[in-house]
Symmetry: C2
Subunit: 265 residues, 2 copies
């Protein structure tokens, strides 16, 4: 049994491990598709993932991943002693054929737990993982989401905005006229439906996005800029559009920092 081998390795290497303690005995894994969140940026694993996730990860042999290299790096970060060569990886990205995705669940149908590892944050939220989960649900297979950092939830928490009703809208259109139209539509929902609205942008376009937001929305509308969540660069500030315009110099350089923008009245 591979799980037992890994457990023995862990015990041997326990004195070397500084970053991530875990519980014994290891939990009995379910025949399930485990949704495994990863860190946002270079944050230490123990800062943002429960110790339980470690214990689940060391029991899984089959991983569906967006990028094999970064998934391996993540697994090594979680558990130094993990033997990567004994694991099977199934690559999943926008180009992956749906009929292959279904086959990725074969080990689970034979009774072995399978993990999905996202590129950043929680799988199946803003990545292709949702397709695998949908197929697992159609097949009546069990799906178990694990806890991890979600910039969507953490930005709403930190904004001070309405958390009883909020929407995440992914990316807005890139072309300025359509983007302005989309922003104004979100602003209408804030006032008419009392619903907090959030969205993301590719980091190198963050500064431009902020310019467009500041010019398109009402002065009294509130914007929370939440960037680098859980990292040493973390910046989570709420001001009105009017205030942001006056204090634009206080906005850090977000050219390379993932940010989420949250709007409310």
């Amino acid at each position: 049994m591979r799980g037992v081998e890994i457990m023995e390795n862990n015990q041997k290497e326990k004195s070397e491990k500084q970053d991530y303690n875990h519980e014994f005995p290891l939990p009995e894994l379910q025949k399930a598709l485990y949704l495994i969140p990863v860190t946002l940026g270079d944050t230490p694993v123990m800062q943002v993932l429960p110790g339980y996730n470690h214990d689940v990860i060391v029991g899984i042999k089959h991983f569906i991943v967006e990028n094999i290299r970064s998934a391996r790096r993540f697994l090594k970060k979680v558990e130094k002693s993990i033997d990567i060569d004994q694991l099977t990886f199934y690559e999943l990205n926008r180009h992956t054929d749906r009929k292959f995705i279904s086959q990725y669940l074969n080990p689970l149908e034979k009774g072995q737990p399978v993990g999905i590892i996202s590129e950043a944050g929680c799988p199946a939220i803003a990545d292709p993982g949702a397709d695998v989960v949908a197929i697992a649900q159609q097949k009546g297979l069990r799906v178990i989401p694990l806890v991890g950092p979600s910039s969507i939830i953490m930005s709403v928490m930190g904004s001070g905005f309405n958390g009883q009703s909020f929407a995440f809208n992914g990316y807005l259109p890139v072309e300025i006229p359509q983007r302005v139209k989309a922003l104004k539509k979100l602003e209408t929902k804030i006032y008419n439906d009392d619903q907090t609205q959030s969205f993301i942008e590719t980091p190198y376009r963050n500064a431009k996005m902020i310019d467009t937001i500041l010019s398109a929305l009402k002065p009294q509308t509130k914007l929370c800029i939440a960037a680098g969540i859980t990292t040493p660069d973390e910046f989570i500030k709420t001001k009105t559009i009017e205030q942001w315009k006056k204090e634009k110099s206080k906005i850090p350089d977000l050219n390379k920092i993932p940010a989420i923008f949250v709007l409310y009245k």
Copy 2:
């Protein structure tokens, strides 16, 4: 220094602690309002909270809480050796006057970290914590959300639905005609805006809510029932309305189990 005392206690008691290991040295806390998630139900702390949260919690002396008794219980669960009598609690609920809330942040303005502890899940999401965060943001105080279990995110992850665009809508109206109207409005958003829609219900009304959903929505619309997330009763299943109608007997008794309902096309 209180933090040091606790650290020593921890080292002494380390052999007794089975549930929650942490890292040394303790992190240097920021002058910030820390948003501290709690477990959903009786789940062990280490299953759903990062070890880092423990280390932050033992460094904080001032806590804004919804219910002092359950906050104390949570803190004891996180760290057995914690000396509750040395902590100050500020109660926050729907009846708390907004001018008092502002005073709750006095220790932070004097340079000491303050924590907000929610009743379940993440603070400032579906509880009064958002008011405190809003005041902190207005005062230009730093706000740091910690990672924890969010049934809103975990239900979307587990549903297999669109995670690129989704909305959480809190509670729907209780009166049947208004409730049916609200459900149909959400269904329209699914098809017109391609946006996943979720909402919650008081547990004793869960069964009735399911009946209303099954009778009000289109047969091909998909419903994910996500209940008891992270607990031993966890149930996360996606089926079409038509399938749920046929397999209603497979829905567990959710009379006392917190559930979140997620809809998509």
